[in-house]
Amino acid sequence: MGDSAISVSGVSKNFRIFSEQNRSLKGAILRGNRTRYEEFWALRDIDLEIPQGKTFGLLGNNGSGKSTLLKCMARILKPNKGEIHHRGRMAAMLEVGSGFHPELTGRENVFLNSAILGMTRAEIERKFDSIVDFAGEAVARSIDQPVKNYSSGMYVRLGFSVSIHVEPDILLVDEVLAVGDMEFQEQCMEKFADLKRDGRTVVVVSHALDQMRTFCDYAAWLDNGQIARLGVANDVISSYIEDEHGARSAAGAGVRFGTGEVVIDRFEVITDRGVNPAQVHSYEPVHIRMHYTAKERIPDPSFIVSIDHVDGQSMWSNHTKDADYLPADVRPGPGSLDVVIPALNFRPGTFYINGSVHSSDGGVLDCLNRSLKMTVIAGDPKESGGLVALGSHFDEMTPERPMKKAKAPGQGPVDLETYVSPHKRGEDRRQRS
């Protein structure tokens, strides 16, 4: 308690959703100020201590209340119940460049924006050069131009640069890490690392889970306005991914199109542990089964199964014609087809299973996309980044040096025949079809 940068105790926040769109004086007088509304509790009884000098992540689905909590911490919203205390100077970065005036020059806007973020005149004058430097050469060249002439990239750079130069004891950040080009993002991450090194507290709301994993020390997972889990970031993020994105039919049952002579009923992800496990491990052998019903005989058909990352990146696909798997026809009635994947070499993430059935001339009979989600979590060996899992390990250092820690068992290439999941948790989960 003593060394908390922010302490949140018993905080609840509700929003009133008014049944009538326009709240007018007439309405208030007629109804004697008893305007009809529904209450929506965005936060319920949140207790949270954010330790000083740590980076703390808030995660959860859309509408879980994480941004509301951040806004309450930032004093933008006032909780209905409970209290929030903070120690030291606090700045919020909920949107970069808020308060930029398009007609004013970059220089004037730096002064204005810094003032809005709570800097004193002396501070701004001291930091001005560094702010412009950080924003990059293009911005520096047009610092005396009105910002309406700036490109969106320059705008964001300057806004971010001002925000980061507030150098607060506590920085609240909402989804702004994903701005600018790669080079600028790296620059930003460096600056965040600097803040962390200086013992400043950072609270981040983000959907970029991988980024949060590397960036945050602790995290809280919010679900329906309550804290579902609180603790070390890595654990919280893992359990969030497992529980929230377990293999299940996507909302709305996916996107479907085609002429309809054959209808794809559903997909199944099958592993040794059952049908549609909550998550699949990297390197795990997987069958993807496509269930379909044909209304008539289809001669010379072809099938495609593909996997996309939730971000939209196509990960893999296979076509029966490319695989030389050429059935003579499809008989009317139900049927199924398996794609056998000996090892799912994906890094942890969430993926969509897609598929389609085609007639002999290539026409789409049915195509079902995004109907099934599959979550992949780390297998053994763990790897660090990217989209694919290669089962790599480090070796052959010259000159040979003694290793500080004994090689953990299981490190090294995976033997798929004897592969046993290190994560037993998924096994007791239901089998859903």
């Binding site: 007018s24 006032k78 808020s98 007609e103 004013l104 004193t120 005149r121």
Partner: protein, 288 residues
């Protein structure tokens, strides 16, 4: 204390205090961006009152033949100058309150994204309009000095005191209305309507003699209980304009009654303004 030492202390405060710095910057934003991209720029702030003065002079001075009491020390009888001394302060009061009222709703995006002392928006809006008002007053003072003699220059410090009191009055009402308009958008329209009535109730285009005559007429018809004259004289806008007129048209000090009225109404407006604003300012963001 010399002026330069005051300036030094002031700038030291701006250097150290983030809220003062914020208000200064927001004021600068409003002042510099107001006439950006217009060809005439700041000249517009003089053209507008001049056009109104010309209109009223023709209609009330020429057509209706409105007579005015010659200025006490200036001896001025020019109706256009009489209107000018009323219309310029009136412009400050009415646009000041109207713009102050919109200070929160117009900056909804900013309020939802950054925390800063919310009153800074209303204060800076009123300050930037005060700046515009001062440039107009400077122009007016020069014209009055040319028309009525340089004696008016002696009253400049007193005019500045009245401007400060006036700004406090506008700020107080602006603070109340800025919160109210967040909850009830109708207020803006009601206020526009009220302003029209208020304009004629503030004696800008006629002297109080006209009201006195009107009061006499209704008294003759048995409605003497209506305190027409009393309401007119209690109106702070009328009193503010009387103060400016005393100084700039008559070249005299405002009467003690005027001083009392403007000081009390400014303090009451500010008091209520701070009270209302502090009570509601934390909740306004979700209502925007």
């Amino acid at each position: 204390m010399t002026i330069s030492s005051v300036r030094e202390r002031l700038s030291a405060r701006v250097l150290r205090n983030p809220t003062v710095n914020l208000i200064a910057n927001l004021t600068m934003r409003d002042v510099t961006s107001q006439y950006k991209r217009t060809m005439l720029g700041r000249v517009w702030s003089l053209i507008n009152p001049l056009a109104t003065i010309a209109t009223f002079s023709v209609i009330f001075g020429l057509f209706f033949g409105q007579r005015i009491v010659p200025g006490a020390n200036s001896g001025l009888t020019n109706y256009a100058l009489f209107v000018a001394c009323g219309i310029i302060p009136w412009g400050f009061i009415s646009t000041g309150i109207l713009t102050g009222m919109g200070a929160l709703t117009d900056n909804a995006g900013l309020l939802a994204k950054v925390y800063f002392p919310r009153h800074a928006l209303v204060v800076s809006t009123v300050l930037s309009l005060t700046w515009t008002f001062l440039t107009e007053l400077t122009m007016l003072t020069i014209i009055m000095a040319i028309a009525g003699g340089p004696r008016v220059l002696l009253y400049i410090p007193v005019v500045l005191v009245v401007v400060v009191i006036n700004a406090v009055f506008v700020l107080g009402i602006g603070m109340v209305l800025s919160v109210l308009v967040v909850y009830f958008r109708d207020v803006r329209h009601i206020w526009a309507l009220f302003t029209q009535i208020w304009f004629y109730a503030s004696g800008i285009v006629f002297t109080i003699d006209v009201v006195r005559a009107g009061a006499k007429t209704i008294a003759e018809h048995g409605y003497g209980w209506i305190p027409l004259l009393g309401v007119f004289e209690a109106n702070p806008a009328y009193q503010f304009i009387s103060a400016y007129r005393a100084l700039l048209f008559d070249f005299t000090f405002p009467s003690p009654g005027t001083w009392l009225n403007i000081i009390v109404s400014a303090l009451v407006a500010l008091g209520i303004g701070i009270l209302v604003f502090n009570k509601y300012q934390a909740q306004i963001v979700e209502e925007l």
